[in-house]
């Protein structure tokens, strides 16, 4: 995602995040996602997470966690950080192309 953002930045001459800033954004989103899942576990909504052991709530960091929670939120944050009329669709295209090459 970060590489796609940098390619976009180069093509569109638009200021996007530095690596340090990108990591901090990721960290803050991650923290919030885990907090929300842990809260769900405490509230007894074991849809996305499970509470085991009775003590501290546990959150499963599995593929579903990335697919449903972390990546969509990070993606939405990045897409709204660039100009929506031109850069955002181009970011999706670049990102799609990079995913295809994985």
């Amino acid at each position: 995602m970060f590489l796609s953002l940098k390619v976009l930045s180069k093509i569109m001459n638009e200021v996007t995040y530095s690596c340090k800033m990108f990591k901090q954004i990721l960290q803050q989103i991650l923290k919030q996602v885990i907090r929300a899942l842990a809260q769900d576990a405490v509230d007894g909504k074991p849809k996305k997470s499970t509470s085991k052991g009775g003590g501290k709530p546990q959150v499963d960091i599995d593929l579903r966690f990335f697919q449903k929670n972390l990546i969509p939120k990070l993606h939405k944050t990045l897409v709204t950080s660039v100009r929506q009329d031109s850069s955002a669709p181009l970011f999706n295209l670049i990102f799609g192309m990079r995913v295809a090459l994985l």
């Binding site: 709204t80 929506q84 295209l93």
Partner: protein, 402 residues
């Protein structure tokens, strides 16, 4: 991938690939011969198994100077042909560069959805401001870039009220006001002249002949302008050409300054206090705030000490600023950006107030249409009707008088 992006960037308006109402090429025009030759060569090389066969068949049936609209239909049929039926979507897209029509655009959309949906829950919908604000406990400033008709103070006040948090609005930037005042007094004129003269490439100017300059250009890693200054360089980025615009902006007086003559509290201190107590701060000043760096340093320090409350949000309203007004470093390394446009407007109470609605371009266009329709109707009504029996003249005259 390199072929794809090389070709994509050659298309006019490539960034508008998602807009179905626009075409990359004029469909009534013929494909330039040079472009066809280059594409044919590249496709032959990229897909040795079928690339040559595809382009040869296209040229054999349509000729070397085909119109895009003819190629559009033909390529559509060709992909259905048993010879080329098993092609993947990427292959069809790459071959589609021969005629980038609406079908080509729809394939790009299909490709993006296909690829991204495999990895995560992909949606093209942009998140709204309140969703963004609650997505994380943002401990960095939020650079809010919004379209002109949105009343940001109203919107943010509504969201803050919805979440039950306090909101402070900073409208004055004393440092910027001071700079503006000093400039008007002429204190900074000499400094400005120095900056202006520094924009000239002194090294290139000092060289004697043009040959010498070119020689220097080739030997040095840095590129020099041959003549003039940064303003005469066509390749210069917009952010470099900000001198005149910035100085014009500095001439504006701060309308809020006259409200209170008393010295206000330092905005950094207000932000620091809100960061500790967990309320929101909106910085909405007439010029890009000069205190941004001090604020960022303070927040950095507080982050390290873990003294920022999770509820705290700091929003810099950058509405109406030109790109060159906003510090690149701020957007690059210190803030989380958020663009608010017609596509992700808020539905909170307060947003749809009369002033923001009346300035919305879409509403203005609709109003314009309505006025035109009303005018046309009035003109139509005022015309005298000519009935068959000829008695309508009186009626028409009575109507017009009414």
């Amino acid at each position: 991938m390199s072929f794809f992006f090389q070709q994509l960037l050659l298309l006019q308006g490539f960034q508008d690939w998602r807009k179905t109402e626009l075409d990359f090429v004029e469909m009534d025009t013929a494909i330039p011969k040079k472009r066809l030759t280059e594409l044919t060569k590249a496709l032959d090389k990229l897909y040795p198994a079928f690339g040559k066969k595809f382009t040869e068949k296209l040229e054999a049936d349509l000729g070397q100077a085909f119109l895009y609209k003819d190629a559009s239909l033909y390529i559509f049929k060709l992909f259905k042909d048993p010879t080329f039926k098993g092609l993947s979507l990427v292959q069809e897209i790459c071959l589609g560069f021969l005629c980038p029509d609406h079908e080509f655009k729809s394939k790009l959309t299909q490709f993006v959805y296909q690829q991204l949906s495999e990895v995560f829950d992909f949606s093209e919908e942009y998140s709204r401001l309140h969703q963004f604000l609650s997505r994380a406990s943002w401990k960095h400033p939020i650079a809010l870039l919004s379209v002109s008709h949105v009343n940001m103070i109203n919107t943010l006040a509504s969201i803050a009220q919805h979440y039950g948090v306090g909101l402070d609005v900073i409208r004055t930037d004393q440092e910027a006001d001071k700079i503006a005042a000093e400039q008007r007094r002429g204190v900074n004129i000499r400094v400005d002249n120095i900056i202006r003269s520094n924009l000239l490439d002194q090294t290139a100017v000092a060289m004697q002949s043009r040959e010498q300059r070119y020689q220097r250009l080739q030997t040095m890693a840095t590129s020099y302008l041959k003549t003039g200054n940064i303003c005469s360089d066509k390749a210069a980025t917009l952010s470099k050409l900000n001198f005149i615009q910035n100085s014009q902006r500095q001439q504006f007086d701060n309308p809020d300054k006259s409200i209170s003559e008393a010295r206000e509290e330092d905005p950094v201190r207000v932000i620091e206090r809100s960061a500790r107590t967990g309320s929101w701060v909106l910085v909405s000043t007439i010029r890009f705030p000069q205190f941004w760096k001090r604020v960022c340093n303070k927040l950095e320090q507080m982050r390290q000490e873990d003294k920022i409350d999770d509820q705290f949000r700091l929003v810099f309203d950058l509405q109406g600023y030109a790109q060159n007004d906003i510090s690149d470093a701020f957007l690059f390394d210190h803030a989380v950006s958020f663009h608010l446009t017609e596509q992700n407007t808020e539905e909170f109470q307060g947003y749809d107030d009369i002033w923001s609605t009346i300035l919305d371009e879409r509403v203005l266009i609709k109003l314009g249409d309505k006025i035109e329709a009303l005018r046309a109707k009035l003109v139509e009504d005022s015309k005298p009707k000519m009935p068959e029996d000829g008695s309508g003249v009186e009626e028409a005259s009575s109507q017009s008088s009414a």
